[in-house]
Symmetry: C2
């Protein structure tokens, strides 16, 4: 029970290690003199310029018309057909957490390796979860969860294949859950705009692409009855006033969205150059993060952490590192210098080789 | 299904009518030239002076150490014993929504009349809910939900009686759910600081007393295993960055808390004077709202709405009106003038009498 005693209750929420946790980084590595360069997340380093947070978004209960405006903006941005339901939540994580409580004990297939919270959330509520390597291995699963594009390897699952999976699942009362947290930088793979996908829930994250994960805002689109049930379970005032206010402005800003996609793609290419120049093999990713594979991953993680650069390592995949986008050319240079020094150190001392 | 189509999904979240919804008020009454005086909520009209919202609370994922600090502050403010669990959520409403998914089909007794979302949330998930007038009528219920002090009548349930109810319920595996949303202005009735209350969950709202309901922040205290299960279901990053940042500062500000209690009590007495001077009988309430009972309630509600003053009316209690605290002496005067004019109008024209 320790996890729930005192303030240690927090530990239960962090059973899965996540990126972006500088407080844990500080415990591991101390506080770097130059400040942290946090490349451990897949969050856009150039947040949407949200301007001022008006006090009344905090001092008043979130307003019904503000929620309507937010949903209209999200519907337009994601292309959700008028016939489909759409609901807003305090983060796509909150939606992910709800789904396992909405079904009797089910057989759940999670397309893996992927963001581990899907497996954790379904398993926690007693469902039988199997992590599978492809949709062909889903067998007779009642629920299939797919992150598309995938985190951390960027794997893209063909939308047509997903549509067929949806039909198969619906035929036996099952659900297809598509987590499109990173689809803002790969809009061509999104199924949010598909009509008539039976029993399919599409989850979208606001915070990753718009660079505002602290705001807590996410959406789910899908069949009206299913989405309506989710909205009912979320209850009134699920989304904060600031999230409504900032969300609606950002989601209608088509010019910023297009420009940001270009800017992320450009920095991603520069990051790939640095990674390959310093001997790291990029094996996947999206325009919001890159995945490298190296036998020296644990050593690189530790040495860069000691130098104040936080990457994302994976307990279950010790040869992997995920690298987020540096916010500035200077930050990219700092990464380059440390990776280069690390490579020289390893080459000279032979440390970190398995 | 209409509730889940298009943006009308919002309607499903507002099946129960709530205070504070100016967008609906505008549809009913138009936009008053003098601006709305919203007295339809139980929210403190003098919000905690939260200062600046630092951008990094939005641009970073909520940090683990910030959550620990928030929970420590809440634990201290509410007096939660070290042996009890404590979890933070995006609003006490979010906690209320979760509980029905955490039990098999149960018999639920809700001490009524009260905040209707308790009944709605349990019934929605298939539990058998009975609204009862006293704890003595709870019979063999598996779950008992009590709002203490109660909304809207301010009824106080004796903590000792609640403790006995907790023992009885625990004896048959049941839960006692105490919603202490308004206990900040009646700390003597809170059971948040009680140790060894079996199977008892205490819910606290941050937004009402601190005047920041748009922030979405609430807490639940209780047995570690039960609270740990809630924390797990909430998942990581349940609370936004701004909520953590503002919440921790407000909850440790003991001087502000004490001063605000006094200020609310003083304005509540002045409001009572105005209400009784204009012929309205105060039948209950807390220092955050007053309940009046009058045969002319619907007429008063409509006439004040037309004058730009929004009160809270109750579909199931047509003789009731709930009146929140005016933010200024001028606002109190405006209320007084409109209520006086309304009384004269009714006396002269005989309108609005049942």
């Amino acid at each position: 029970m320790r996890f729930a005693r005192g303030n240690a209750v927090v530990l239960s929420s962090f059973r899965v290690r996540h990126g972006g946790d500088l407080s844990t980084a500080r415990r591991l590595f101390g506080s770097p003199p130059a400040g942290w360069l946090d490349l451990s997340t897949g969050v856009n380093p150039w947040p949407y310029p949200y301007g001022t947070i008006h006090p009344e978004t905090l001092t008043r209960l979130p307003q019904e018309d503000a929620l309507e405006a937010l949903l209209a903006a999200a519907r337009n941005a994601y292309g959700v057909p008028a016939a489909n339901g759409l609901a807003a939540a305090p983060g796509s994580q909150a939606l992910l957490q709800m789904l396992p409580a909405m079904r009797p004990r089910s057989r759940v297939a999670v397309l893996a390796p992927t963001y581990e919270e899907h497996t954790v959330a379904w398993r926690r509520l007693g469902h039988v979860v199997e992590e599978v390597g492809s949709l062909a291995e889903c067998g007779e699963a009642d629920v299939v969860a797919v992150v598309n594009p995938n985190n951390p390897d960027g794997r893209i699952t063909d939308p047509g294949r997903l549509a067929r999976t949806a039909e198969e699942l619906a035929g036996r009362g099952g659900w297809l859950v598509i987590d499109e947290t990173f689809a803002d930088v790969a809009p061509e793979v999104s199924l949010a705009s598909a009509a008539d996908l039976p029993n399919t829930l599409i989850m979208r994250s606001f915070g990753k692409f718009f660079g505002l994960p602290g705001l807590r805002l996410g959406f789910v689109a899908g069949p009206p009855a299913l989405v309506g049930s989710i909205a009912s379970r979320l209850g009134p005032w699920a989304v904060s006033g600031p999230a409504m206010h900032i969300g609606v402005r950002a989601l209608v800003d088509a010019e910023w969205i297009v420009r940001t996609r270009g800017r992320l793609a450009k920095m991603r290419r520069r990051l790939d150059d640095v990674l390959s120049e310093t001997g790291l093999t990029v094996v996947g990713g999206t325009d919001l993060f890159r995945l490298v594979e190296t036998a020296a991953a644990q050593d690189v993680y530790r040495r860069l952490g000691q130098a104040g650069i936080l990457l994302r390592s994976f307990e279950r995949h010790p040869r992997w590192l995920r690298v987020g986008l540096p916010p500035t050319p200077g930050a990219l240079k700092r990464l380059s210098v440390e990776l280069e020094g690390n490579r020289s150190g390893r080459a000279a001392g032979g440390r970190g080789r398995p």
